[in-house]
């Protein structure tokens, strides 16, 4: 289907001309990144450049297809060389083994041409500090050949103080031809706690010092005073210095390779390829957006455990409005900024852009500028996702929330589109939730180390509308996603792993199963003590949600047992290699609060479980053979098969189809009987043969007996609601405590949160199939998944 009521708006020449925020939205404040409000850049065509900043802007779009392909891929390989150089010079295991960084190439006006395959929302921040620097530093101290700048200021555009954004121009013929950018997470830049996260911080004055863009290298000469101004604050100054040198080395590599490319193909052709990449990416995304009906999609979720002793739940909201090929994204409804979990505008914007870029521009080599051509923002300041100065930001809550919420909402939008787009919708993945920990202490050689192990990023991909998620599948926004080897982390931290394994049954149940996640157990090794700090959120409430009626993945958890396994017990041959064996050998473990800071001693056992991916669709509709296959490959247990999927697996490992049918019918009837009836039953009738579109999963729409378009159940045809209303109003609602669904899969929210939470399942009142699920407070109104413009012009 095609929506022809709007003109295509994609850039014809790769130059972006639209403001990213409607000026009306900004009129009451100065969004310049210098005081309260974040920097909101003008479109590339309207950068306010001082005369000293001279750009090399000539380009020729008329390039033969081979040259274009060579250059596209050459840029990709140059960007990979950039990353490799950083890894090779760096001394930081999180960089070398875990890729906690990314690199990017940008045009002369800092349009983000290409991100590397590491953390995408790191790279997607790159245009902000560069544009800011051209506008604000172009005259004094100026931008010259051989200069390198760095910063760590979220109000200009970075994640938090521990991420060093570094950038440098590529000069050609005395003018700025393009830009090089990297952002690396570093171990420690000071502040009250090792590792620089401060869960107790009320504002940024209790966090590491921020540095707005400052010249680090002047005409090829390192300014040692500037370097030491930054490293002086760190507990590991030498490592920080080496880390920053690795970024400088990366810039050197790219400059050399860009010079080769320019010599080989000429500036107009090289720039022409860059502009064409942006144009092509914009055109591809625009074309796909045009094929989705206009409408509005939204999502809401909560975080708890945002600060020490925080027992409240905080709401994050996202709404995407689509008209033609343009999206307007709003964070309205998000709760006020709170402690260190807040993030600034740049992080929110970056999360939105990578979601739009990846889900609609998957074949465009992560060209963010092409995505930006189709997105504008409506930021509500003072909130968790668009915080104002001086909010504390080390906790990264808002960043990951932005990535998660944007992708989830974009997925809902895709589900309203044609099949080739809707199948790309993706339930939340394990890494949607910011949940990690790090250790700080002396290693076995007496060196002070502070860092997380790579386990924290092993992740799990959520399920899709037509296939399962991926076990230990990382994150969609982190294609490389290395979590490293056990041996690498045992060398980097003073720990010994008892086990590091896939957690059985941790993927969210659904017609398509979410990916299973990782679980590890460690003891301290060859040191006296190590500080373990959780940088997490209350797992019970923050889990990866399912889509289309699928259930969330395992919530993840952190557990601890003091003196559980002294070394002499290991020496005697006790080696618990599974969660069950651990519980048997050391006894029950205690849950830790999301912001726990614990001193770990020899013999103490620390268990980290990470979130599984969300499921897609009603688990009672999963093919019984697939469920039996999951049991035989040990992805789930026999008990999970029965309790969550309604599948009876017999002694030979096959699904007993008769018993399964009976069980499933009974489960459907039981849950429908237990559910609240629809708020607003829809009395019209719908012809299942005449559905003209879908909201994904089991929800479709088509002309009803009243002549209007209505939502309805695709499984049985029952009408749910008029097309411009929430289909959930016509669904029965079943609310259960999460742990009542599966105590092994879901935790009890009341342990660390004072607000009640339920899993709410929306059921078709006709057949009982699950249409959607929410994890919410009992008095929350239903989320409006999709509201389509009434009477959209669609043809099957």
């Amino acid at each position: 289907m095609r929506n022809d009521s709007h003109e295509a708006t994609s850039t014809p020449d790769g130059i972006l001309r639209r403001p990213e925020v409607d000026p009306d939205f900004l009129k009451d404040a100065t969004w310049d990144g210098r005081f309260h409000y974040s920097y909101v850049p003008p479109p590339a065509a309207e950068l306010r450049l001082p005369p000293e900043v001279r750009l090399h802007s000539e380009f020729d779009l008329d390039i033969d297809p081979v040259t274009y392909q060579v250059l596209r891929n050459r840029f990709w390989s140059i960007n990979l060389d950039h990353s490799d150089t950083i890894r090779r010079v760096s001394g930081s295991p999180v960089i070398v083994y875990m890729d906690d960084f990314n690199t990017a190439l940008l045009t002369e006006t800092a349009d983000l041409l290409m991100a590397g395959p590491s953390i995408q929302w790191f790279a997607a921040l790159g245009d902000l500090p560069i544009k800011w620097t051209m506008e604000n530093r172009g005259q004094n101290p100026g931008i010259g050949e051989g200069d390198v700048y760095f910063h760590n200021d979220p109000w200009i555009g970075c994640t938090h103080a521990m991420d060093v954004g570094m950038f440098a121009p590529v000069f050609h013929e005395g003018r700025i031809f393009s830009w090089i950018f990297s952002q690396c997470h570093v171990g420690d830049v000071g502040g009250p706690f090792p590792g620089s996260f401060n869960p107790l911080a009320n504002d940024l004055y209790e966090e590491p010092v921020l540095v707005p863009p400052i010249k680090l290298v002047r005409g090829g000469e390192l300014q040692i005073d500037v370097l030491e101004m930054h490293t002086r604050k760190s507990r590991t100054p030498d490592h920080l210095a080496l880390q920053m040198r690795s970024q400088m080395a990366g810039i050197h590599t790219v400059q050399a390779r860009m010079a080769e490319v320019l010599a080989e193909y000429g500036a107009a052709t090289v720039k022409g390829a860059m502009r064409r990449m942006i144009r092509d990416c914009s055109a591809a995304i625009g074309e796909r957006l045009m094929r989705i009906p206009d409408g509005e999609w939204s999502e809401r979720f909560y975080m708890a455990g945002l600060g020490a002793e925080d027992r409240a739940a905080h709401r994050f909201s996202c709404r995407i409005r689509k008209q033609g090929d343009q999206l307007v994204v709003s964070n309205q409804g998000t709760d006020p900024q709170y402690k260190a979990a807040s993030s600034a505008y740049g992080s929110w914007r970056s999360g939105v852009l990578v979601a739009v870029g990846s889900f609609l521009g998957w074949d465009q080599l992560l060209c963010n500028a092409g995505a930006l051509d189709h997105v504008s923002f409506e930021p509500t300041p003072g909130t968790l996702s668009v915080a104002t100065y001086p909010a504390a930001t080390t906790g990264v809550g808002g960043n990951t929330a932005a990535v998660y919420l944007s992708a989830f909402t974009v997925s809902k939008m895709l589900m309203s589109g044609p099949e080739d787009l809707s199948r790309r919708a993706n339930a939340a993945g394990g890494q949607s939730i910011p949940s990690f920990w790090f250790g700080a202490g002396n290693d076995r050689k007496g060196r002070f180390v502070v860092q997380p192990p790579g386990d924290v990023v092993a992740g799990a991909l959520g399920a899709f509308p037509d296939r399962d998620g991926v076990d230990i599948g990382g994150a969609w926004w982190w294609p490389n996603n290395p979590s490293g080897n056990t041996e690498e982390w045992e060398d980097a931290l003073p720990i010994l792993y008892l086990y590091r394994r896939e957690r059985q049954g941790s993927g969210g149940p659904g017609r398509w199963r979410g990916g299973n996640s990782l679980e590890t157990a460690i003891v301290l090794h060859k040191t006296d003590e190590m500080l373990v700090q959780l940088v997490s959120l209350d797992n019970a409430i923050n889990c990866a949600l399912g889509l289309g009626g699928g259930l969330p993945g395992h919530t993840g958890d952190y557990r601890f047992r003091e003196a559980g396994l002294p070394r002499d017990r290991l020496a005697s041959g006790v080696l618990p290699g599974t969660p069950d064996a651990l519980e048997r050998d050391v006894g029950e473990l205690t849950r830790l609060f999301a912001k726990e800071i614990t001193m770990m001693h020899p013999g103490d056992v620390f268990v980290a479980q990470y979130c599984g991916g969300g499921g897609f669709g009603d688990p009672l509709t999963r093919q019984p053979e697939l469920v039996a296959g999951d049991v035989s490959s040990a992805a789930i247990t026999v008990d999970d098969a029965r309790a969550l999927y309604g599948v009876v697996v017999d002694g030979s490992g096959s699904a007993d189809l008769t018993a399964t049918n009976e069980l499933r019918l009974r489960m459907r009837a039981d849950r429908l009987a237990a559910a609240r009836p629809p708020v607003a039953p829809d009395d019209v009738s719908l012809d299942p043969e005449r559905y003209t579109g879908s909201a994904g999963g089991a929800v479709g729409f088509g002309p009803a007996s009243d002549g209007e378009e209505h939502w309805g159940c695709l499984a049985c045809g029952r009408a749910l609601a008029p097309i411009d209303q929430n289909y959930k109003d016509g669904a029965a609602q079943l609310e259960r405590a999460p742990q009542a669904i599966s105590p092994r899969q879901y935790l009890d929210p009341s342990e660390f949160c004072d607000e009640a939470f339920v899993v709410r399942e929306f059921l078709c009142p006709g057949c009982g199939v699950t249409l959607a699920t929410e994890l919410c407070k009992p008095d929350d109104p239903p989320v409006v998944d999709a509201k389509l413009a009434a009477r959209v012009e669609v043809t099957a």
Binding site: N73, P117, L222, R245, G474, N481, N485, E487, A571, L575
Partner: protein, 696 residues
């Protein structure tokens, strides 16, 4: 090492086994014979016998006079690619038995091109090489320093091996954490396993890789076990067969990083022979390129079953330390070679929606293409080439094999009827489809690596290379095709094997903070050089002609990675160590920019390395003979003309330039100069085809 005796190289492909014999100080004679899949050693000796006949000798005489017999093979590669390896069991440290499934978290995108990896919806982990049901956790634990933390549960090993054998394991991998620091548990478990199941092929992680990182090490050992039983049998048959036929020495095996290893090493570490056939071809091509002063070459090798592509950039074949093979990462240095199932034997078929497809399934040597007359009825690429008139059925393999044109036509006609196309359109369609697939791989190896194919020559070898590369090159935007040594081109991998350098790289990983006394470093290098000499002695190679290159790996102490720094020959004293230290900083600055390092934490040596190379006799590459050749002609169907054209057919390489269309029918291959192309030999004896439309 120069030799008055013969050097023999043999390359076993999926369809043909090729041989070259180097004799009389650099002359080469070639031979070819069908591969014998049931017992590949039969084809091995048939090919040598064929070459012996061609040089006017006999197999026995050649074997007696031979002092270097080097073998390259894709047998192991094919077994892995086709998932035909042994059922294997895996013993892993308890609690870490999921390492092969976790794949360092990278399984979803490992080995994919950027466009594939970024298309989230289509990404998934590869099928496991060992199913979970064949993995057994073993209670044991060694730590980062090699200290035993939990003793080995020997009974547990015994039980696990019994269970795995009962479950059908034909090979076993033992891979424990930190076995590189202390292999005692792996060794003991191996002894126990050998007691329990004496016939089991066993690989240990620490025997195959000295790198830390359990995932890559375990994969290497798993791949090794997977092809172990197959390769063991195979190596033995060849070694025994050679001995029975009078060969006095030890058969050498080409290996994936270039150079050759002994049969004992190949038995122990068959994974090192993966890709060794194509690698030998690439190495030979690199040498020819050097002589021809070509810096950038895309080497394409088309045999009966696979099409292999490698890249020589700036004079050096691309290489990797960690190789991704079939989407699993292995701790094994390898030349960067990619293969697809496309060759003369590739079968053409029609899918459910009526599209014409070619490969990856191959008719192999038996039954082979329909025109072989061995009972095959599927139309293959070779059948299409016969129908088109590109291949002369009466002069295949220099007339040693007669092809049946009629059978080829029948096979093509069956597809033509389904497609509703003419016989010749269908045959041209088969060729076009397979050429397009090959061009895709060439693009992947060039464009996707950011290399401009227009700055590369396409070197075409293997039996089908000179036949198809001119069409492939045109599609992949390559301006020129080079057929290296036309008379040896169809057997270039065998030629590469026969002229392999024998290389031993001996290393010692030891972290030492500078300053280190010169005497200590000298002592380490001396020990390494003795070790290398012993290896050569074991192969019966005179060490007098061996060249030794010393190097160290160094880093700024706070770094994780290191860089290689060459160490000049000569006795090392304290001053020499200081000079190495300076050199390190120069190397680092050169690689990463001035001031990129930081001496604050000091400087480390991390490893010491000696690369010992014995150079075998070299063929005189300029000796390829040229002839004044007159042409006959026959009707050939050219897809670009959509018609037949009476085409001159040369029986030898004409020294004058010729305009296409034309065919040069050599004993083992046909060089095709397509319409609009132009061919001419270069001064080094290679044949060069100018491809229209390929220039920038």
């Amino acid at each position: 090492m120069t030799s008055a005796g013969l050097s023999v190289g043999v390359d076993i492909g999926g369809t043909f086994t090729d041989c070259t014999i180097m004799h009389d100080g650099g002359r080469i004679t070639t031979g070819k014979s069908p591969t014998t899949p049931d017992d590949r050693s039969l084809g091995f000796f048939d090919a040598i016998a064929n070459a012996a006949t061609n040089m006017g000798s006999t197999l026995e005489s050649v074997m007696e006079r031979c002092d270097l017999l080097v073998h390259g093979t894709t047998t192991g590669t094919n077994a892995i690619v086709e998932r035909r390896g042994a059922a294997i069991g895996l013993l892993a440290t308890r609690g870490h038995d999921d390492a092969m499934f976790i794949m360092k978290g990278q399984g979803r995108t490992s080995g994919l091109s950027p466009d594939e990896a970024l298309d989230v919806h289509s990404t998934r982990r590869p099928e496991p090489l060992v199913p979970r049901s064949m993995v057994r956790p073993i209670t044991e634990r060694i730590d980062v320093d090699g200290e035993i933390i939990v003793p080995l549960d020997e009974d547990g090993v015994r039980d696990a091996v019994r269970e795995l054998v009962a479950a059908g394991a034909a090979a076993l991998t033992i891979s424990f954490l930190w076995s590189t620091m202390n292999p005692v548990h792996e060794r003991r478990a191996m002894e126990i396993a050998a007691e329990v199941a004496p016939d089991l092929f066993i690989s240990c992680g620490s025997d195959l890789s000295s790198r830390s990182g359990e995932y890559e090490r375990t994969t290497t050992a798993v791949m090794n076990s997977y092809i172990g039983p197959l390769m063991l049998d195979y190596v033995d048959r060849i070694q025994d067969g050679a001995r029975q036929r009078g060969f006095q020495g030890s058969v050498q095996f080409a290996q994936c990083a270039g150079g050759a290893i002994t049969s004992a090493e190949a038995r122990h570490a068959p994974v090192r022979t993966v890709h060794s056939g194509p690698v030998a071809g690439t190495i030979a091509m690199a040498r020819i390129a050097e002589r021809t002063q070509l810096r950038n070459v895309i080497a394409v090798d088309m045999g009966g079953t696979t099409f292999d592509v490698s890249v020589i950039h700036d004079g050096r074949p691309l290489q990797r330390d960690i190789s991704i093979f079939e989407r699993y990462a292995m701790a094994l240095p390898m030349l960067d070679i990619e293969s697809i199932g496309a060759g003369g034997g590739s079968i053409a078929w029609i899918d459910e929606v009526g599209r014409l497809n070619v490969g990856p399934r191959s008719a192999g040597a038996r039954p082979g293409p329909a025109c072989y007359g061995f009972g095959g009825t599927d139309a293959t690429v070779t059948d299409a080439d016969v129908v088109l008139g590109l291949v002369n059925p009466d002069n295949y393999l220099g007339g040693r094999m007669r092809l049946d044109r009629h059978l080829a036509e029948e096979a093509v006609d069956r597809l033509a009827a389904q497609l509703g196309m003419s016989r010749h359109e269908t045959a041209a369609g088969i060729a076009t489809v397979v050429d397009a697939k090959m061009a895709d791989l060439v693009r992947r190896m060039s464009l996707l690596r950011g290399l401009d194919p227009r700055n590369f020559a396409c070197a075409a070898f293997g039996g089908g290379g000179p036949l198809h590369a001119p069409a492939v090159a045109a599609q992949a935007a390559i301006a020129g095709v080079l057929v290296p040594l036309p008379h040896a081109a169809s057997v270039l991998s065998a030629y590469g094997a026969a002229t392999s350098d024998v290389v031993h790289v001996v290393q010692r990983w030891r972290v030492m903070k500078l300053p280190v006394p010169g005497a200590t470093v000298e002592e380490i290098f001396a020990a390494l050089e003795t070790e290398a000499a012993e290896k050569f002695a074991g192969q019966g190679i005179d060490t007098a002609g061996v060249t030794l290159e010393r190097s160290v790996r160094m880093r700024f102490s706070m770094q994780i990675h290191d860089v290689e720094v060459p160490v000049p020959a000569g006795r090392l004293d304290d001053g020499a160590v200081e000079r190495i230290d300076q050199r390190f900083e120069e190397v680092h600055d050169q690689l990463f920019g001035r001031g990129s390092g930081d001496r604050t934490g000091g400087i480390d040596f991390t490893a010491f390395q000696v690369r010992a190379t014995a150079t075998t006799g070299r063929a005189d590459l300029m000796s390829d003979e040229r002839h004044e050749s007159s042409a006959e002609s026959r009707a050939v169907y050219w897809s670009e003309l959509r018609d037949f054209r009476d085409t001159p057919v040369y029986e030898e390489v004409p020294s004058a330039a010729i305009e296409g269309p034309a065919l040069i029918e050599l004993p083992d291959t046909v060089i095709v100069v397509r319409p609009g192309q132009r061919g001419e030999p270069d001064r080094a004896g290679n044949y060069v085809i100018e491809v229209r439309g390929g220039t920038r």
